[in-house]
Amino acid sequence: MPPVDPTPASPPTYWRSLEERADSPEFREMVEREFPGEVWESLPPATRRGFLKVMGASLALAGLAGCRWPKEEIVSFSRPAGYTPGVPLRYATSIDRSGVGRGLLVVSYDGRPIKVEGNPKHPGSLGAADAIDQASILDLYDPDRSRYPISREAGTRRAQSWEDFERFVSGRLATARTRRGAGLAILTEATSSPSVADLRRRLAESAPEARWFEYEPLTQDNERIGASIAFGKPMRPLYHLKEAAIIVCLDADPLGADPSAIPHARDFAEGRRSADQGSMSRLHVIESGFSITGSMADNRHAILSREIPAVAAQIALGILGAEASSLALAAGPEPRRFVAAIVEELLAHRGRSLILAGPGQPPEVHALVHRLNEALGNFGHTVELALAPDPERPTHRDAILSLAAAIDAGAIETLVILGGNPAYDAPADLDFAGLLPKVPVSIHLSLHENETSKLTTWHLPRAHDLEAWGDTRASDGTIGVAQPLIEPLYGGRSPIEILSILVDSRPLDGHAIVRRTHGIDGDDSEAAWRRILHEGVMSGTAFPLEMAAMRPAEILARFASLGPPAGDPGGLELVFRRDAKVHDGRFANNGWLQEMPDPLTKITWDNAAILAPSTARELGLQADDRVRLSYNGREVDAAVYVLPGHAAGSVTLNLGYGRTAAGRVGNDAGFDFYRLRGSEALHFASGLSIRKIGGKHAFACTQNHHTIDAIGLRGMERRLGELFREADLAEYKAHPEFAKHRIHDPGSHQLYPPHDYSEGPQWGMAIDLNSCTGCGACVVACVAENNVPVVGRDQIRRGREMHWLRIDRYFRGGEEAPQIAHQPVACVQCENAPCEQVCPVSATVHTREGLNAMAYNRCVGTRYCSNNCPYKVRRFNWFNFHKETSETEKMGMNPEVTVRGRGVMEKCTYCVQRIEAVKIVSKNEGRRIRDGEITPACAQTCPTQAIVFGDLSDPESRVSKLHGHARAYGLLEEINTRPRTQYLAKVRNPIPGAGSPIPADGLEEHHG
């Protein structure tokens, strides 16, 4: 964006009515609130009364909304240099999630950000963005966001203006300052922002008695403490999965839940692709639940999380030998059989192996893992260390405990909560929601008026990260700058602006704060600043790497004294996990994320008590049963999801659901497992009991999850070998073209003459199943790029999800130790397309470039094409799914893509709008389209670059080469659809001689 004028909205130049000109307080309030009355807050979906209310509100809006956009600050009428209306511009920015900066490029159309992509220059992104990053666009335009400061007094909720708040707070601050800040406390969510750190320092100077707390429900603190045990200070490990030939994950999910999942996945994929050169990494995963990393494992063992420390000890015994003899007790009497093989592998790959421990594992395990990596000579090769920022910070757990204690003691008079939602996600034993009203003045800044806001005396609307100036630090410390892409839609402010009110005598705006923090506020700094904004990152700001001295004795001593996990060891184990969609719950009101199927369970709009088939049988439970979970005197009702490959005796509970004040999307989705989570065990504990309470919960899954009938299961298993082709590394080496021989091709005869493909580029795609982790980033990318509607839970239950791209997930092998197959499937653009032949009105036709095009205007919606599509990738608009899209959300739509109305079929187009845009440019420049110049949204954002798109008529293009690759095959090519998307078969790398858990392919079934 041509840097947005950072000054807050100037007084309106134009006036809308005489009242406004008179600037009466009533009118001010109405304008601030934009939607007068309580309509939006209390709107239930589709009731008669609700409908009438909305009709009424719409009439009221008709008068107001017209004046709202565009504002002169956003789209200048005097066109800035280099700016053409209608031509999208990309701006680098970064946002912070749970204390880790994420580098983004945001596509903006005429001042409206519409799409989030990764910033290739950012080390945490490398050009890719995960599902949540991309969905932040929808958060920005969320109509449920709060629109004005709200004060609550004795149960009455009143709309206020920012001026009201500033007046109120200045009085309050004056008193606080006189007492050197005593009684003032600030609670932030985890943040990496240097500006926040700077403001905190300034606050400490001006109000030394003020207290600062940082709380985050999902935290990497165990890793920090583990490093402190090992090195005496909290070092942050940085992993290089590319270099590792042997990777051992102990409850770790480096490819999924980890904040650095994108660079990890990129590295990991390289280690897998090298199968083509004859060697590839081997991934061992030992975990309780099924993680994305676990789904990629060559050798996975599902055991209880609480038994993983023992496995770590056993590995340590194997590697360190006598030195680790003190761990014998922790290792248990009988080592697990698989440990010996892992130890052997690790010892054989010194310097080229890597052990990782998960954030849920106790600090002692992390410390031991550091010791093991050191003993294996991995430091400097597969793992490096950097000093973590803010080394003095107490753990998030301790912070929230001491805050709770301080509130209870009455020591806090003014509590400023910047982001976060402690009333919802603080440990259950603190009863934070009960404590909060004890604070005389509590101020909560957040995007939504959420659970916490409702208990505070002041709620302030927060500017979305895409609306505000800011800064972040990536995992490796690289500073990223955040610039606003749009004027705050709802007049929100950023945390640093609120802090500035507390700290600075004359509050600064975000722009000034960030420049001050980084010392780029001099007169001659403009060019440097512009360059930083352009790049999005400040190069050379990564944390310095250092190899701290290790304290082996300390590590072993601490580990040996590691106690048993909390809770009654007799019951089931419960494990709390981050959710791949809503993270810790803060994204619960995001329809794109709610509707993204979970990578493993394929559940949308819900979480579940996930357990193993054997555990379900033992407990007499079946899939979808409603149950009551009891642990440590706390109870939550939930529903059961039975997941093959889950550890027996363990129950995985994804956090972040069951919100009550998330907004219209997030409320009543799923179950709130925070209510089971106490400060005694934030990650896993024992002693869970499950009782059936009768009834079934109707999960909205995009893929069959029931224990499928015997016929279906057999049919599925038989064909899986053809649909998802894979081989062991040994087989691949012996038969490089194995994928081509997985089916018997009966020959191809075609009724109608084939299309003429002799002219122009011929588009094609290749998807490498060897790299795809099933993370789902491509799904959300496609939704954002192609204006795919959110249809809601009920429609998904009916099988009506609209995603053009889905990731098929199959289990192979037994239910105890299945292997997972992730297969992204979108329209494969058949050259001999079954859909085209049957459409009675020629609404789906072939282009000369090989695209199977949909003419929406011509479609009458017979659905015959979908019936005849063997891939079932066509999606039908059963209703007018965009009917309820709010005015704000409409701003986030891609203007290059038609919004489909009711009764029309749609499907993947290979992002034809991107193709056309590049074609126009190349034609104007009189040149051929360069390879890689066109990237569909899915390919653009894939963290592992598993999707490659290009011109098949160019033999030198990447996609042509991949189509010619030994592992390439066409899905269902035997029915002569001649797909333009080819898959590259997966290669697994099991321990030689261990035997594959999968029986040989059902090849003999259909040969000959």
Partner: protein
């Protein structure tokens, strides 16, 4: 030469002993009186009113459901991906299938000189037309954007956009509309002499005018009769291939696709046999109460019913053979997807529908091997209804089970109908019966003129027995008296 009467079995179809088609000593006058009387009576029987009230209410339900569908979108049905067609196309094929009996009876049996058809052909033709009307509704309303349904017709336009002539759905449009047109023409033309009779007998002015217009100036001259006979023959010849073609084309909707379970060359003959099967069953379902309520037992005799039962037995067995053949071919082809589809049909989640279909269509009609079953009104009624149930499920099984589990297991689904699905289907019966009840009330339900051609015009008294040497036209048989006796008991 002996003139002693010879005892013969009931179903002897011996040229020497041709059974009379009309019983009970009816003359031309009594036939006219009986058939016209139904229409001319000032008030129909009470049963008619009850039936009409019920079916009209159901018709209202149908239109209400359609209005709701148009207002909200196709999503009000239980459809999804992968099952993009379910009740809509099932109902369409079901009704089109039923619409086959009429033309078969009128045209093919006419060409084959099956004179027994005359008593029932009007009836069956009317039923055909109403069934085709019901059928036509579903493809029209099943599209996502009804307001553009006219895109399906090859209308000349300045953009030179034509429908896709490769699509079987387009062939359907032509096949069904042609069939509708020809069968309506055939029905109406055959009715002209009878409409003239009604006109001539009409007492009120309104009836005179209306029947007069409908009779198209029929005077019953020899020349008119001659033209009439020729035209009737020509139309019969024209309609005959349609009987075979319509359902063949409907079956192409499936056979031309690549969905396992649809992509089968057996479909055209299999569908035609099934259509005749269901059509005859529906004729029987309607005829049994009608002849009961309107006193037409002597015109529509037990022999008619028995003949139809035989056709039902024959076509039902053909359908059974087709089911078996599908399984055999699926196995024989070696195509794993095909094999799976059929196993899944019989043993998968839709096994219940499959076994309803097999029992109703294949097993139950086997009872018709027994003469007692063929001549028992309750059994005929029950079986004919069961056959209709079975044939609806046949289409449901073909369409829904095949779609619900095709190639990629990730995209498998399970279709569950909504209330709108069920009510729309029920409403289509309402429309069908409403039209039918109006027909029996206002139009001659038996082709009087044709029936008279198969009646004895001269000769001995009907009860007089003759030996083989005394054959002269129609010879009544003892057993007929017995049957009448049994039936009137």
């Amino acid at each position: 030469m002996s003139t002693k009467p010879i005892e013969r079995p009931f179903d002897a179809e011996d040229p020497g002993y041709r059974a009379p088609l009309i019983l009970g000593g009816n003359t031309f006058a009594t036939v006219t009186e009986k058939v016209c009387g139904i229409v001319e009576k000032p008030k129909p029987p009470r049963a008619w009113y009850i039936a009409f009230a019920v079916s009209l209410s159901l018709t209202m339900v149908l239109f209400a459901m359609i209005a709701y569908l148009f207002f909200r979108g196709v999503g009000v049905w239980g459809l999804q991906v992968p099952v993009g067609w379910a009740f809509d196309i099932t109902n369409f094929v079901f009704w089109v299938g039923i619409g086959h009996a009429g033309t078969l009876i009128s045209a093919i049996l006419f060409l084959f000189r099956q004179k027994w058809r005359t008593s029932i052909n009007r009836f069956a033709e009317a039923m055909t037309i109403f069934a085709v009307i019901c059928a036509g509704i579903f493809p029209a309303i099943h599209v996502g954007r009804v307001w553009f349904a006219w895109f399906l017709f090859p209308l000349p336009n300045q953009n030179l956009i034509w429908p896709n002539f490769r699509s079987p759905l387009l062939w359907d449009v032509f096949a069904v509309s042609t069939y509708m047109l020809v069968s309506t023409m055939f029905w109406f033309m055959g009715m002209i002499p009878d409409l003239a009779t009604l006109r001539d007998r009409a007492t009120g002015r309104i009836r005179q005018v209306i029947y007069g217009i409908l009779a198209l100036g029929w005077r019953g001259s020899n020349r008119q009769w001659h033209r009439y006979e020729v035209a009737y023959l020509l139309l019969a010849a024209l309609a005959t291939p349609l009987v075979l073609s319509v359902h063949s084309v409907v079956s192409f909707d499936f056979a031309v696709s690549q969905v396992p379970g649809w992509h089968t060359t057996i479909f055209p003959p299999y569908f035609v046999a099934g259509a005749i099967f269901s059509g005859f069953a529906m004729v029987m379902t309607l005829m049994i109460p009608s002849r009961q309520f309107f006193g037409l037992k002597e015109i529509i005799t037990m022999r008619h019913l028995e003949n139809m039962a035989k056709i039902i037995l024959a076509t039902g067995s053909m359908v059974g053979l087709a089911y078996a053949t599908e399984f055999f071919i699926a196995w024989y082809s070696g195509n794993p997807y095909e094999m799976f589809t059929f196993l899944n049909r019989a043993m998968g989640p839709y096994a219940w529908a499959y076994w309803i279909m097999v029992s109703c269509n294949v097993l139950v009609p086997q009872l018709f091997w027994l003469k007692r079953a063929r001549t028992s009104i309750p059994i005929l009624m029950i079986i004919s209804i069961l056959v209709n149930v079975g044939m609806w499920f046949e289409r449901y099984v073909i369409i829904v089970t095949s779609l619900s589990r095709d190639y990629l297991p990730s995209a498998w689904g399970y279709f569950k109908p909504t209330a709108v699905d069920l009510l729309t289907f029920a409403g289509s019966f309402g429309l069908f019966f409403t039209l039918f009840l109006l027909f029996v009330r206002f139009l001659p339900m038996v082709a009087m003129a044709e029936v008279k051609t198969v009646m004895r015009q001269e000769g001995p008294e009907p009860w007089q027995q003759k030996g083989p040497g005394d054959y002269r036209g129609d010879i009544p048989q003892l057993h007929d008296a017995k049957v009448i006796e049994r039936e009137t008991k």
